[in-house]
Subunit: 265 residues, 3 copies
């Protein structure tokens, strides 16, 4: 499968030259490569946030995109680097769980361990910046048409993140805040599957407050807290014209209790 675009996902931030250097290296090796930035704003070393963002985002990119995912607290250690092919896309990421939400529940993936040091940066490999020394050069060579077989051997297993615990009974579920966006909206690990279930949610409890579930818009809830099914089908808690984070003092890891309607017979 050829590579159409290289998509970058990191926790590098935008203050430092790090993501600029990734672009520079890729363009040095593959001048025609098309590079897009998914985001460099993952919280430093937060593998789980990166895994969720990748799961929510990848299908909006062109087929045959190669995602280069560098949230890598184990850089320089003996953690492996993976190449994966799945659902018409390919991925490079440390084997630390970052790919687990993309790959899990899918049986038709291909997986390789990146081991061919001949593909790494010609200046050698540091202990602390594999984005520059391994990920970018390997991605650029794949964009140039390198056969993935040249990367390293096929493998079957990968490190899999546990999903944050979620307990369910008939009329109750528990989930947690997994991220907070730029607008102060609280994203949870709870994903609605099909419309029916969203219709049954009545309210959530978070930070000691009961917040009604609504199918309305932000504008309908100006100045008010509300829970809703967001544009990625996740349960989200928002303030229609402000910041739910500021109103509630919630943070990643904060517990959320979901109450369903009594079951109708």
């Amino acid at each position: 499968m050829p590579v159409s675009h290289i998509i970058l996902l990191t926790d590098f931030g935008t203050k430092d030259p790090f993501c600029g250097i990734l672009h520079g290296i890729i363009k040095s090796i593959a001048p025609e490569a098309s590079i897009l930035d998914l985001t460099h704003g993952i919280e430093p070393r937060n593998i789980q946030e990166a895994a969720f963002v990748l799961e929510d985002s990848f299908a909006y990119f062109p087929p045959q995109s190669l995602f280069v995912c560098v949230v890598d607290p184990g850089v320089g250690s003996n953690r492996a680097i993976l190449w994966a092919e799945c659902s018409g896309y390919t991925f490079l990421a440390p084997d630390n769980g970052l790919l687990s939400y993309v790959l899990q529940d899918r049986s038709n993936y291909k997986l390789r361990k990146v081991t061919n040091a001949g593909l790494y940066h010609s200046r050698g490999v540091s202990k602390t910046f594999h984005g520059r020394d391994i990920f970018a050069p390997v991605a650029a060579r794949l964009a140039q048409g390198l056969d993935p077989e040249k990367i390293g051997p096929e493998i079957r297993n990968f490190v899999s993140l546990k999903l944050p615990k979620r307990r369910n009974s008939e009329n109750l579920a528990e989930t947690v805040v997994i991220g907070i966006d730029h607008f102060g909206n609280l994203l949870t690990n709870y994903r609605f599957e099909g419309k029916q279930k969203a219709d049954r949610v009545r309210a959530v409890e978070i930070c000691g407050q009961i917040i009604a579930f609504s199918s309305g818009t932000y504008a309908d809830h100006s100045g008010q807290l509300f829970a809703h099914c967001n544009s990625f089908n996740r349960l989200e808690i928002s303030e229609g014209s402000g910041s739910a984070r500021a109103r509630l003092g919630a943070k990643p890891g904060t517990h959320v209790r979901i109450e369903y309607e009594e079951k109708q017979i």
Copy 2:
């Protein structure tokens, strides 16, 4: 009029995957489209700031650029989405005033209401992310050469922001701080028309301080507050080597009084 480039202006910030996803969708539909980011740093939901930034910036972009402007607190409500053509550029924006400074005082604009749901994202339209579900797909199709007639019907009226109040007498004017840049410079709503008027400003009063107007540079005023005509012909209050915001404690909305020289006869 064909589209040369797609220019993005949003309040999405750069932490989340939102602006990356816009790029992904546009490239999925129009692989050859050239996309530039004007900024994603508009204050969340600040339509007026977006309107000013667009007014100050659009003419520096290539002719036939299409500006995709998503500062949209009414997303999912019954607010319309506009397509506009004006001064050799085209625009997509919510009908919330964002385009008002670009369009006002210009009579030769064309305006359409975006209504053709056949152009929206194939996964459907959420209540909370029309940037992804409507703006980006429509922009990509325009970049592919879609006739704007296919977007929706022509209209004549649009929501127009009131400019922040500005009172003038012979030797006095009042204006407000409308934004603060990365360097702590205070931007005001006061725009100089022609050089003559700038020459007549003597001083401004803000936060209880009288600050002299100067035609000098930042370097001329190292460590000092000064008022000047900035590079967008707006009245700006700066500290030559530091942050006027920090020195004055000003913020958007802070009042500014402008004193002119006595009129010469």
Copy 3:
């Protein structure tokens, strides 16, 4: 030497439209130009940080890249603007020291003073935004193939930054923190030349703490402070899984004392 890519390095931040406008102007003049962002996150007016970042980064970009470097507290004053050619790259920057680490110790550079006002922006030149009015238009014309002779006359001298002081004795050296990255790592002015010297460092003293030097990875030092040779061959002080800045309260300018092993005979 033709230009392959235009690389932007500024202190503009990403909140304002400033770096978007640079892209817009370059694309208006040179529609085919390839533009990459090295970073816009240099601390406002910090020429030394820009000089270090440029020195550490430029060689990772494609040959014949033109670096447009705008950290320019003297904008509008009589400071000159330089064009330089060195090591297969070209540069535009204010003559304020920004290029000094790239040029110093290299004798084979070419240097010109930018003086040809016919190349500047057709709307004229403001006193406060030469990135827009001079740097971007000149860069775009160079990307279009303009002969550098047309920019202005050759010169030999340029403003050179003093390196932060570093005192050395047999077993001791002193350096300073010159920057702090997104992860809270403390970067110093101390650059290792060759592997041997790094092997001889035993510990550093900073903020009253003695911190051991290690050749291990971040993951080896989870929860611990350590000093190491980073991926740019600089002495760096890190906390393996957190922020050394937060742990030590260090900031740019903080002194660092380096202790070497006793010399072996």
